[in-house]
């Protein structure tokens, strides 16, 4: 039920319009095109299914557009489909817009016909008309409208075409109160129609205009229990338990059985009826001269997913994204750091001038501000390059191909190929990867994906990894060779993360998350030319700023705390030294030292601040020198006992340790379970400790 979903009307005159559609039809483009910045996003009450609402005005009337989850069908078998169905059935929208893909209209009509069965207040928006044209598919909008008996409009939502016409149709259909034209009726086998006739009159009598009696009759015959319960609640009386209705239902079921329709056959017929009708309509309304699919797409697929080139290209793409990120971020990073440290000097001078006590000034400037400046200058440039590049791949349609390539290996781990998609998202931000796990239908497989997402190092961990790789394994020179070397090594680290993901997924599915892989359908949508401008804006605002804002919000207070720890003396040493000394024996077993482990612990709010903490701790006796170059940093680290082995251990631990606090909170929100949140915390931590310990012991043995 949609209980609790607050519809954000601005006036009581606002009309509520549900926006439905198959996945990958450009529904969100339509939604964004109509509502612009005027949106509100959240979750459906009690469900981990996202909900977006937005308001728009047309012809002087207000409309609240409710974006319902993309689904192929309203015969619910996933949380998304249930939400979609319940909102259309029981959410009392004033109209339902079904967005369709003109390039595969026939399949989309399944959802259209199911919607029309529920409510005649349906408007069909055939999107992607431009792409259909390219594939030589012609959709006759007028004929389609005649066939369906509801308004149909064509659109190319990406360029904003057709949205006015769509709203005209919505406006018109919401003005009509009663006199709606009779829409198409899906006809089923004669025996089913007979059974419906038996039930329909008494249902019409008891539920009036609240629910479509023909639709309700079909659902009763089908015996969809949870839907019937929802209907009972909606109708607010147990009409369906009325003895006469029960009696008629028994009679109708008997008729069906005599005609050879058992439960399975009846369900098949319900689906087949829809598909046949869609087929019939398309014969009249869709004219195709081509293959029905793009030969260009197939050629690209043959390159991106073939046996010989699929994996090499995947790895090459990953490496080149890293290379562009590393090479491109270097110089702006230096500018930012020079600029921000110049500000630091001025800030200290200003505080001195207005008479702030030296202690407070040091704490604010050298503690809070300096850490913040570090995080911004180290993180912002790579993110501002990585996120747009990544969004570009996403927009192109490459990510489903990654899932397609990798599914076999996930299946071997009894997991789902779509986990490959959530891993990609985790490279950007693990919290985003966790939310992305919603695309996995099976709860068991979704949990596996969540518990292992942290093996993908997020953007906050890149700078640490890149800096260590460059300092200890590539050399701190500059130029093409250096950035490419770092990119390749970073790719290798990521591949180790991928390997750990598979290993741990497999272990989980053999132990706490036992089960067989569930069935799997993955759509490979057509490749689409990304809208570069929109990609940049969206990735900068939605992703970069969000992640940076979060990191900055924790960096400043963390910097303050660490400065305090480094400057408060207890007995003969600073608090930081005491803590580091306490952790040291354990950390040594992992090939690190107390300071490093302490930095990882203090870095819980954001991984970005691990390196700055290490630097501050090592320098806690003196004041922090500006780390202008990596070679200076390297000198500092080696002076504090770092070797190549230490560097490897730190990277391994950076790749495998607890998720950051935001990710933990996200996991708790998604799973609603303390137990699984704890597991998500422990799984990578235990793995990291084990791997680092083994690595250290092996070195001891052979080194």
């Amino acid at each position: 039920m949609d209980e609790g979903l607050v519809i954000r009307r601005q006036s009581s005159q606002d009309q509520v319009v549900a926006l439905a559609g198959n996945p990958n039809v450009g529904k969100s483009t339509v939604f964004n095109g109509l509502t612009g910045m005027n949106q509100h996003t959240g979750n459906w009450p009690g469900k981990t299914v996202s909900n977006a609402q937005g308001r728009c005005e047309h012809n002087g009337r207000g409309f609240v557009m409710v974006d319902i989850p993309g689904s192929y069908s309203l015969m619910a078998h996933s949380a998304e489909e249930e939400v979609a169905r319940d909102f259309i059935c029981f959410g009392d929208p004033d109209a339902v817009v079904v967005v369709c893909d003109a390039t595969c209209l026939e399949r989309n009509l399944n959802l259209v016909l199911q919607t029309i069965e529920i409510t005649p207040r349906t408007v069909v928006c055939v999107n992607l008309m431009d792409e259909a044209e390219k594939k030589k598919i012609r959709v006759d909008i007028d004929e389609l409208s005649r066939q369906l008996g509801v308004p149909v409009t064509g659109a190319c939502a990406r360029s904003g075409k057709g949205l006015d016409a769509l709203m005209d149709a919505v406006d018109e259909i919401t003005q009509k109160k009663d006199a709606l034209a009779d829409p198409v009726r899906v006809l089923y086998a004669p025996a089913v129609e007979e059974a419906v006739k038996t039930l329909e009159p008494s249902l019409r009598e008891c539920c009036g205009n609240a629910l479509n009696p023909r639709w309700l009759a079909l659902r009763l015959l089908e015996g969809e229990d949870d839907l019937i319960r929802s209907a009972q609640q909606y109708l607010d009386e147990d009409v369906l338990d009325r003895p006469d209705v029960q009696e008629l239902l028994r009679k109708a079921r008997k008729q069906l059985e005599e005609a050879g329709f058992d439960e399975q056959a009846l369900r098949d017929e319900m689906v087949s009826g829809l598909v046949r009708q869609a087929e019939r309509i398309c014969i009249h309304a869709v004219h195709s001269d081509g293959h029905g699919y793009s030969s260009r797409d197939r050629k690209i697929d043959r390159i991106l997913t073939s046996k010989a080139t699929g994996f090499p290209i995947m790895i090459a793409l990953l490496a080149s994204i890293f290379w562009l990120t590393i090479a491109g971020a270097n110089i702006p990073s230096q500018w930012l750091s020079t600029g921000l440290f110049w500000v630091e000097g001025r800030l200290a001078a200003f505080f001195g001038w207005i008479g702030v006590p030296q202690f407070l000034c040091d704490m604010l400037v050298h503690g809070a501000y300096r850490t913040l400046a570090w995080v911004v200058s180290v993180m912002l440039p790579p993110m501002a390059i990585f996120f747009p590049l990544f969004t570009l791949l996403e927009d192109l349609g490459y990510l489903p191909r990654v899932a397609f390539n990798l599914d076999r290996y996930f299946k071997k781990c009894s997991a789902c190929g779509k986990q490959g998609l959530t891993m990609c998202m985790g490279l950007g931000c693990n919290a985003a990867g966790i939310v992305g796990c919603r695309i996995i239908d099976s709860p068991r497989e979704r949990l596996i994906a969540m518990l292992t997402n942290n093996f993908m190092p997020c953007n906050g961990r890149f700078p640490t990894l890149i800096a260590i790789l460059t300092m200890f394994f590539v050399g701190t020179g500059s130029g093409l060779g250096q950035s490419m070397g770092s990119a390749l090594l970073l790719t290798a680290v990521i591949l180790l993360g991928v390997f750990m993901t598979f290993l741990v997924s497999w272990m989980l599915s053999k132990t706490v998350l036992k089960g067989i892989p569930s069935s799997f359908t993955l759509e490979l949508p057509p490749y689409r030319r990304p809208q570069i401008g929109k990609v940049i804006i969206r990735s900068i605002f939605d992703r970069t700023m969000f992640v940076l804002g979060r990191a900055a919000a924790v960096a400043a207070p963390a910097g303050l705390l660490i400065w305090l720890m480094a400057n408060l003396t207890i007995g003969d040493a600073t608090a930081l030294t005491h803590c580091a000394a306490f952790l040291d024996p354990f950390a040594r077993q992992l090939g690190m030292d107390g300071v490093i482990l302490l930095a990882f612990i203090l870095g819980l709010p954001a991984n970005e601040i691990v390196v700055p903490i290490i630097i501050m701790a090592y320098l806690s006796t003196g004041s922090l020198v500006e780390m202008e170059s990596l070679s200076m940093l390297r000198q500092l680290l080696t002076e504090n006992g770092w070797t190549g082995a230490t560097a490897v251990s730190v990277m391994l631990f950076s790749l495998m340790h607890w998720p950051c606090s935001t990710t933990c909170l996200t996991i708790h929100k998604e799973t609603q379970s303390i137990k699984w949140t704890a597991m998500a915390f422990l799984v990578p931590t235990v793995a990291g400790i084990a791997v680092c310990f083994l690595f250290h012991q092996l070195l001891q043995l052979f080194g």
């Binding site: 069908s73 015969m75 399944n110 598909v275 073939s306 046996k307 076999r408 069935s519 490979l524």
Partner: protein, 78 residues
Amino acid sequence: MNPIQPLTDLQCGQTARVGKLTLQGSMRRRLQDIGLIEGTKVECVQKSPSGDPVAYLIRGAVIALRAEDSAGVLVFCG
């Protein structure tokens, strides 16, 4: 008429018509929802690097299926 065989046997580029679904439960329903019913034309368009899953063209959309699922779809070739 050609003999009935599992969809899994289809090679890239081959086309077939669905004769029968032997799958049960939610997978049966899911495939029916995307339009895979008796008589539907299916074309095998792309195998993944490891040969499983395989992508099929079903009513204008390209859908990847795992072998154990497509084995439950019996088709007439040609």
